[in-house]
Symmetry: C2
Subunit: 173 residues, 2 copies
């Protein structure tokens, strides 16, 4: 009830999704999960995670439970029914999913072509190498991972390959 708009931000959605995946978790665990996540879209800092969780609790999307025998005040949080339904709405948001998001590659792509020729060649070569390196990292990560994140890694891999393919077309135009 704190927030006028009832939709979730990208971060809040990702947060609820992570909590639901665990069933029940402590804010600290969720924070660790974000901090050690291979995709660093959010820092997972305490200054973002704790306030966000408390906001979601006050909006009745999360329920918190405290263990009696813990003097640290460790919280166990889980999704309420309202939280489940808000998360579901977030997951199936077609408009959000079809949008381009905030893609630093895409944002810069128009500018690369206007670099002076020598600088452009050097840079595009370096960028292609960096993409290739990332692609091979993702390749091994996908072989290692047989869990739920496998398809996500597959998507990452395809996106990077698409970037590289676009780059190669650009170079020889």
């Amino acid at each position: 009830m704190n927030n006028l708009k009832d939709s979730l931000t990208e971060f809040e959605g990702a947060l609820l999704a992570a909590i639901r995946r665990s069933g029940e978790a402590t804010p600290y665990q969720i924070r660790q999960a974000f901090e050690t996540s291979p995709s660093p879209e959010w820092s997972g800092s305490s200054g973002s995670v704790y306030p966000a969780i408390n906001r979601l609790v006050s909006r009745n999307l999360l329920a918190e439970r405290r263990s009696v025998d813990d003097r640290r005040g460790t919280k166990w949080i889980s999704l309420t029914e309202l939280g489940e339904s808000a998360l579901l709405d977030w997951i199936v948001d077609i408009d959000a999913a079809v949008g381009p998001g905030l893609d630093p590659f895409r944002t810069r792509s128009s500018e690369w072509q206007e670099l002076p020729a020598a600088k452009r060649r050097t840079f595009l070569k370096k960028l292609e190498c960096a993409l290739t390196e990332r692609i091979s990292e993702l390749g091994t990560a996908m072989v290692d991972d047989c869990g739920a994140s496998k398809t996500r890694i597959a998507l990452d891999l395809e996106l990077q390959r698409t970037r590289r393919k676009w780059l190669r077309n650009l170079k020889y135009q």
Copy 2:
């Protein structure tokens, strides 16, 4: 000198790039360009554009000039040499370019597979339709556009096609 870190945010970089493309422009023109931009990553609202431009002026990345005969106080802004070099650094930032950015499709992708089967099929079908629609829009946009944004649209198109391809693989797994 206002800002301790000397790097640019995504928005500031995009702002400088837009200003440089015009050579000299008024903040209002830049704002319009962002507002009518087909890629709605930023709102282009006055509350974001004017403060950002004034920040960049106070960091000596932008120079402002006022026409004497205009009582509205219209400003003409252009990049200083410092602004040019800051923009160049931003453009060739490999780490930023290789990162995934904030991609709502990618963020949600892990969750779609865990939807109940019936709901999942319905949703994935709708998502595929939405992607197809977007792909055809981009296709016509690319035919119409013969300017500098053509390759950017081509990238958009390839990214959406990659999403759709990934989605189709997912469905029949």
